[in-house]
């Protein structure tokens, strides 16, 4: 699988994503510059976390107009795998590749901490190595992660099972207390209709290197690289 990580001006987690893909999973991984115009031959494109354009105006609002984005949209329309993590998710919603919007955390503060996620849809290309309802321990690090969509859209997402991750407690209860940023319906990640574009606020690349004690992020990478669930 040919993988690419896009570097926008201000991207920070591009190096982290690249490291996991290339060094931990041994994938054929390439750097993609925001001014490139082609994504021919790529199977997986990652829009990484960070502060593209400083998050100025609105997070992701300027990056979505980068020259590479035309090719990103084409890649998604072709059925290619597209993964937006944190700032990448913000870029996807600004670009309209995923519905809704990401607002300021209700605490008005940046937060960096481990949270629990419930896998609501274990049938996607990104979650097939998970059990339905499995609870993953993955960190968040953001100031604008509160998911919003109007009632109609939200209902549609629920009905079609396109909400992939929800914030929950360690037992898997999706509660208000477990919601770190005020996202509607505790939405932490969602997928498009065709199932090839995933956007999520938490950072799986931060817990996917076997060097670390926390490795729940591996479940997502395992899914993409067609691995069965990792044993212990």
């Amino acid at each position: 699988m040919k993988c690419g990580v896009v570097t926008f001006p201000g991207s920070n987690c591009d190096r982290d994503c690249f490291h996991i893909l290339k060094n931990v999973y041994g994938a054929d991984t390439h750097w993609i510059w925001h001014k490139d115009t082609s994504l021919d031959g790529f199977d997986l494109v990652v829009l990484p976390g960070g502060f593209s354009y400083g998050d100025y105006l609105r997070a992701g609002s300027i990056a979505r107009f980068s020259p590479i984005m035309k090719a990103v949209v084409d890649h998604a329309n072709r059925g290619g795998l597209l993964w937006g993590i944190c700032n990448g998710f913000q870029i996807l919603v600004e670009a309209g590749l995923l519905p809704g919007a990401l607002l300021d955390n209700h605490t008005q503060k940046y937060m960096c901490r481990y949270v629990h996620l419930k896998v609501e849809n274990a049938g996607t290309a990104f979650t097939r190595a998970c059990e339905p309802g499995e609870v993953l321990n993955i960190p968040i690090a953001h100031a604008q992660g509160s998911y919003y969509a109007d009632a109609g859209t939200l209902q549609q997402l629920e009905d079609t099972g396109r909400i992939v991750f929800r914030y929950c407690d360690v037992q898997g209860n999706v509660s208000e207390e477990a919601n770190p940023n005020g996202s509607l319906a505790n939405v932490a990640g969602l997928i498009n209709e065709a199932g090839n574009v995933l956007g999520m606020m938490p950072h799986p690349e931060r817990c996917a290197d076997p060097v670390w004690p926390q490795t729940d992020g591996q479940k997502l990478f395992d899914s993409l690289f067609h691995k069965t669930r990792v044993q212990a």
Binding site: P9, G54, K109, C112, R206
Partner: protein
């Protein structure tokens, strides 16, 4: 152009120069300086840039060792950590701006220290901060606290360097003067360290980064006929940081530093283009000619004085081998950065600056950089020590033992958990943070290596107030203990000496004692002091802060798997105490 009006005594005073200093300038130059030149002397001979009060004492610190690749004198200190790698680190203060505008003051403080690190060719991998606030009961202090924390978070998170630790103390002595000390650690190849040298006659001086504005130029010195009244409002007293610009600058710099035609680099910090250009020329024993018309500016009508002394953030100066200018500019343009050739290295040991086709400044480099006489300020043991050090233990009220006393301690702001603070810092980006905030020391793994680096920042200023010599030793001892408990061996020290008014002999005595204490400790344990900063005049209405010689020690773990954390791990484990 008509002849400029003569410098007045009032202007000399407004520029912070004494009559004696002005006379010395005239004697050394053999003529009177013009206003732009006066501004340059004012900046370069200021305490902040010349270290005139502190140099005599800092000279006594141990700065050498088998691992030291670069001691004090450059933008940051460099320590060899084996495997062809070097740790580059420094701590710096931004106290006064943070009191005026806490968010931007702290943010630009982070920006400044980051630049000091990547200007040496090192990729920053960790930030820590040491903060001192006054009584948190006051709304003003809570406002400052929230602003500083948000500013550090806003800048550090945006640029993608994890903030992995630090310390925060609250004490009434900081009511009028808060302290914001920021530490940064970077990694570089030991054989690819860049210094701030303007060497090689004919080489190009290249400016890169934000456009220059009127930031940092204060109204007080603007009382000459050369400026009109409308410029007053345009001169902001506080700089606004642009972390996005700094991120672009960082990546562009690290990219261009892979080339072998980069001769020297320096960031533009305090006193902007002036200090960088002069320092780079002094280190290389060369001269520099600048053409200010080539400098990218963001305001119209800026004159030579303003361009030379502007403290606009996020700017660097590169010295590029003649012939490679276009390649350099192309790399900067790739990152959408403003860049321009603004001058050349010369061999006449002078700074010659042209503006609008005329030479407006001609100054000998050495006079400007080293001309400020070291001021041997008198010291006197403080009167307060006569009573402060006498303690009758029987007069101390003994609180009841048990839960209440413990809860009271744990609830005191200085001791209480700081999770609400470091929760706002991204401490994981970069995938190198082995030990997250909360333990004795921050531990970072070194990519592609089995090693790790640990960092601790400490200073109990109350001890320093009671005995500056011992207090400084206790500070560095505490840092070293934190490192050792994490499994690391201390390899280098950086320090930020925060004190009151050095013109007060009692404060100067505190300074001298603290430096001596720090020096003796480091000599005994063979840990070199490789960089640092001094912040003086931290006092309001005669009330000085406690002497606060903040120390940051960096340690090395040869085998990162042997790092340790402070938390109790499992019920049933035994607890022991080492030492008396």
């Amino acid at each position: 152009m008509s002849a400029p009006p003569p410098i007045t005594a009032e202007q000399v005073a407004q520029h912070g120069l004494t009559k004696a200093e002005y006379q010395r300038i005239c004697d050394l130059l053999g003529r009177k300086p013009n206003l732009a030149e006066l501004g340059i002397f004012s900046a370069m001979w200021s305490e902040h840039c010349s270290y005139k009060s502190s140099k005599p004492h800092l000279k006594t610190l141990p700065t050498e060792g088998p691992r030291v690749l670069q001691g004090p004198g450059e933008n940051a200190g460099v320590v060899d950590i084996g495997d062809g790698l070097a740790a580059v680190f420094k701590i710096e203060s931004h106290n006064h701006p943070s009191f005026i505008e806490p968010y931007q003051g702290a943010a630009t403080g982070v920006g400044g220290i980051l630049r000091d690190i990547f200007t040496m060719g090192a990729r920053p991998i960790a930030l820590l901060n040491s903060l001192r606030f006054g009584n948190p009961d006051s709304p003003k202090m809570r406002y400052l606290f929230n602003g500083v924390v948000k500013g550090i978070a806003g800048y550090g998170n945006c640029i993608g360097v994890p903030t992995v630790g630090g310390d925060i103390y609250f004490d009434d002595c900081y009511d009028g003067n808060i302290l914001v000390n920021v530490f940064c650690l970077g990694l570089a190849r030991a054989d690819k360290i860049f210094l701030g040298n303007a060497s090689g006659v004919g080489n190009a001086i290249v400016y890169v980064g934000s456009k220059t504005g009127r930031d940092g130029i204060h109204g007080a010195v603007m009382s000459s006929a050369e400026f009109d009244d409308s410029t007053e409002e345009k001169r902001p007293t506080v700089q606004v940081g642009d972390p996005f610009m700094e991120k672009l600058l960082l990546e562009a710099c690290l990219e261009i530093m892979q080339k072998d035609w980069v001769v020297g680099v320096q960031d533009m910090g305090a006193a902007g283009l002036t200090s960088s250009a002069f320092e780079m020329a002094e280190r290389a024993d060369s001269g520099v000619s600048l053409d200010l018309d080539a400098v990218p500016v963001r305001e119209t009508g800026m004159n030579a004085y303003e361009i030379m002394l502007s403290e606009s953030q996020e700017r660097m100066v590169f010295v590029i081998e003649s012939g490679h200018e276009e390649e350099a500019l192309a790399i900067f343009r790739k990152w959408d950065l403003d860049a321009a050739v603004i001058g050349r290295v010369t061999d006449d040991r002078h700074m010659r600056i042209r503006s609008h086709g005329e030479e407006v400044v001609a100054l000998p480099i050495e006079v400007v950089v080293h001309g400020a006489t070291e001021t041997h300020r008198p010291t006197r043991k403080p009167k307060y020590l006569e009573t402060a050090q006498h303690l009758n233990l029987h007069e101390i009220e003994v609180l009841g033992r048990g839960d209440d006393a413990l809860k009271k301690l744990l609830a005191s702001p200085t001791i209480a958990s700081k999770e609400c603070v470091f929760d706002q810092y991204d401490h994981m980006v970069g995938l190198n943070t082995l030990v997250l905030p909360g333990s004795d020391a921050a531990v970072l793994r070194i990519p592609d290596s089995e090693k790790a680096l640990a960092i601790s920042v400490d200073c109990n200023s109350r001890y320093c107030y009671l005995d500056p010599f011992q207090g400084a030793q206790i500070a560095v001892a505490e840092s070293c203990r934190n490192l050792v408990c994490s499994g690391a061996e201390p390899v280098g020290v950086t320090n930020c000496l925060n004190f009151g008014n050095p013109e007060n002999p009692e404060i100067m005595w505190q300074f001298e004692q603290a430096v001596r204490g720090l020096g003796d400790f480091c000599r005994f344990f063979n840990i070199p002091v490789v960089s640092g900063n001094v912040s003086l005049y931290n006092e309001t209405k005669g009330e000085a802060i406690f002497p606060t010689p903040t120390v940051a020690v960096v340690g090395l773990l040869e085998d990162r798997s042997r790092h340790m954390t402070q938390w109790f791990k499992q019920p049933g484990h035994r607890i022991g105490v080492l030492g008396l």
